[in-house]
């Protein structure tokens, strides 16, 4: 593991509070994930790939933005690994990089139709940009 990978891995484990070594690889997280089909990497892969030094691959994937944040995998993980927390923290790490915003304020406004609730706009502002 090179220095940058090590730094990213340590950071994401610290800010997510996730311990991938507790995972017993039962696959319940991916089995319950409502957006499994849309995601390039699935909840159980996030756990094993971070543990195996493949964090950059995950950060370069759009899968972090397709996580619905519904916490189904967090609630249902029998080992309390909570893969969803890791996915959310990886999205945060992406945003923290220089020019790391996924969408700007104007992009978000352009995506909104007239019926979008304020709460959704604010959530997008929080999820997609610093």
């Amino acid at each position: 593991m090179d220095q940058n990978t090590r730094f990213l891995t340590e950071t994401v484990l610290r800010i997510s509070g996730v311990d991938p070594r507790k995972c017993m690889k039962c696959g319940k997280c991916s089995g319950t994930c409502p957006n499994y089909d849309a995601m390039e990497y699935h909840p159980h892969q996030f756990v094993s790939m971070v543990e195996n030094g493949l964090i950059e691959q995950l950060m370069n994937s759009n899968a972090v933005y397709l996580c619905l944040g519904c916490m189904a995998c967090v609630e249902r993980c029998p080992r309390h690994v909570a893969p969803g927390k890791l996915v959310g923290a990886l999205a945060q790490l992406k945003l923290r990089k220089q020019d790391g915003n996924h969408k700007g304020g104007n992009d978000i406004a352009a995506m909104a139709d007239e019926k979008v609730p304020q709460q959704l706009l604010m959530a997008a502002m929080r999820k997609y940009r610093k």
């Binding site: 610290r14 800010i15 997510s16 509070g17 409502p34 957006n35 089909d37 849309a38 933005y65 397709l66 996580c67 619905l68 944040g69 519904c70 916490m71 189904a72 967090v74 609630e75 927390k85 959310g88 923290a89 999205a91 945060q92 969408k103 978000i108 995506m111 909104a112 139709d113 019926k115 979008v116 609730p117 304020q118 709460q119 959704l120 604010m122 959530a123 997008a124 502002m125 929080r126 999820k127 997609y128």
Partner: protein
Amino acid sequence: MIYSYYPGCTLKDRARQLDLYARASAAALGLELKELTQWQCCGAVYPAASDDIASRLSAVRALMNTEEKKLVTMCSACHHVLKRTNFDWKQDATFRTRATNYLQPEVPYDGSVEVVHFLELLRDEIGFDELKKKVVNPLTGRKIGAFYGCLLLRPSKVLSFDDPENPTIMENFIRALGAEPVSYPYRNECCGAYVAMEDQKSAQTQVERALNSAVAAGCEELITACPLCMYNLVENATVHRLPVKYFTELLAEALGVKEA
């Protein structure tokens, strides 16, 4: 009984009915909801990173500005963020210290406020049996399903709202109003959430799964507490469609104060 009340941004605009019917119903039940004299955004989403202090500051401000013992919320998202931030305040000394150092309040927040959802208030303080007695316009014969979504239930250890896999609070609420509650498997799954804006197809998939499940179980209408679930269930419905109302509208109807 007087409660502090945090409406949140959406209840002042897109989800105005959620707020108006809640106020009318509360008055009919003899509950006083006192809106905080000052409030900002709840934070919209609970931060995914434990070192993210700033995103939780506005929730802390709301808790600090709460005069009564209990802070009542209506919107699932506000409830989620405020309750979790309040939980963190009691559990996480680093967060507490950093937030206090930043805010420099005259009187530091002592963590004594209890964040409660209006549904919890109806269940725990009024009681559904008592609520039933106050119904003047029972919704007899209507088959109503509850869509819980995610934010009210999970993570269950922090929210302690109801059984996260087999919730019954909204079904009991529906029964108290004289209607027939219909339980269906996907009532505690995701509506598609904020991803709806960037990837509509994701939201349509979730909504179709939920509505298909609700229709198959015999629901004729749905209720929700969440403006985002409301948006997705209505705007991103494809094959199946059901009328969706906020739970407070149903309550106001049964209490006979909907038109007031």
